[in-house]
Symmetry: C2
DNA sequence: GTTGGTTCGTTCAGATTTGAACGAATATAC
DNA sequence: GTATATTCGTTCAAATCTGAACGAACCAAC
């Protein structure tokens, strides 16, 4: 690492803005979800992913990958959501090692009740402040990065 | 909240990509810093902010705002960095309540040693994958969002 | 079949985060 | 000046996150 490539002004500005904004937005979202439903952001994301999945169920590992948390964090949160009656665990028919996380009716209703307020925050601070062009540029740029990070 | 404004495809794609990418990148950065220097990302950010500050020192609250962590988290991390000899606490001359976090020489050297590897990750996954235009669009968009979030 | 390597989800210990509560110091209003 | 409200940083308890280690189940090769 003898020749360090520092970031020039444009690069540094972009990186700093991205970093601060993602953290600030995360905090704001966390605050809103906690106040409105006693949910954390990862918990909410779990519900969303399950609601979108076929039969409203997903394998633990796949779900962890989707939400971007460690497997142990997912185990913890699913147990928590199970206790709240929003998710159930089911045995996986095709793989005895596997566990299916299944969204319950109560879980779906919870999501439907919470989503509007959550989306309002995402809009108020991010989506509604970006032009159509900016949204599209961001999508392609983020997806390129995401693909690289997922190897 | 009777009329929910759902996200259309473009909006949802942008939001999802932003969310996943920021989490994935955060994990990757965390992993690199831990392996290279035993630092967490917040710890690294503290060192960076202090290095950029006049006299390499900052008030606790201001620093917490900059790094985007709670005051209690900053107290914890500064104590940790102090133990490692990278930061010191100093009394604030203008305000007896205040505490100044000061970057030590060792802290500066640590930062100089760690920065190249960290920046390489930021480049490899984000900066170098974006065009100049994309970087600029992202900066303006993120700054707009950031300003709103900081009220 | 059985052996060896991989994947699955959980458990565990340890580290970190947050918000609330607190005492101390400052600022504001009168 | 004094009373009130605000700000500062820390402490504390509780929640959450991660990686490592584990037993169980799968898979591939022979």
């Amino acid at each position: 690492m003898t020749d360090t490539r520092w970031l020039d002004d444009t690069e540094m500005a972009a990186w700093r803005a991205f970093l601060s904004t993602s953290h600030l937005l995360e905090r704001r979202i966390e605050e809103q979800l906690k106040a409105a439903a006693g949910l954390t952001h990862p918990q909410y994301e779990i519900l969303v992913r399950l609601a979108d999945a076929p039969d409203r169920q997903m394998r633990m590992t796949e779900l962890a990958r989707g939400v971007v948390v460690s497997k142990s964090a997912l185990t913890y949160q699913i147990t928590r959501l199970e206790r709240a009656g929003l998710v159930e665990r089911a045995t996986c028919p095709s793989d005895d090692r596997g566990v299916l996380a299944v969204l319950t009716e109560a879980g779906l209703r919870c999501l439907e009740r919470v989503a509007p307020g959550h989306l309002a925050v995402v809009r108020a601070y991010l989506v509604d402040r970006l032009t159509r062009d900016e949204l599209e540029v961001m999508t392609t740029a983020m997806r390129r990065t995401e693909r690289a990070l997922r190897e």
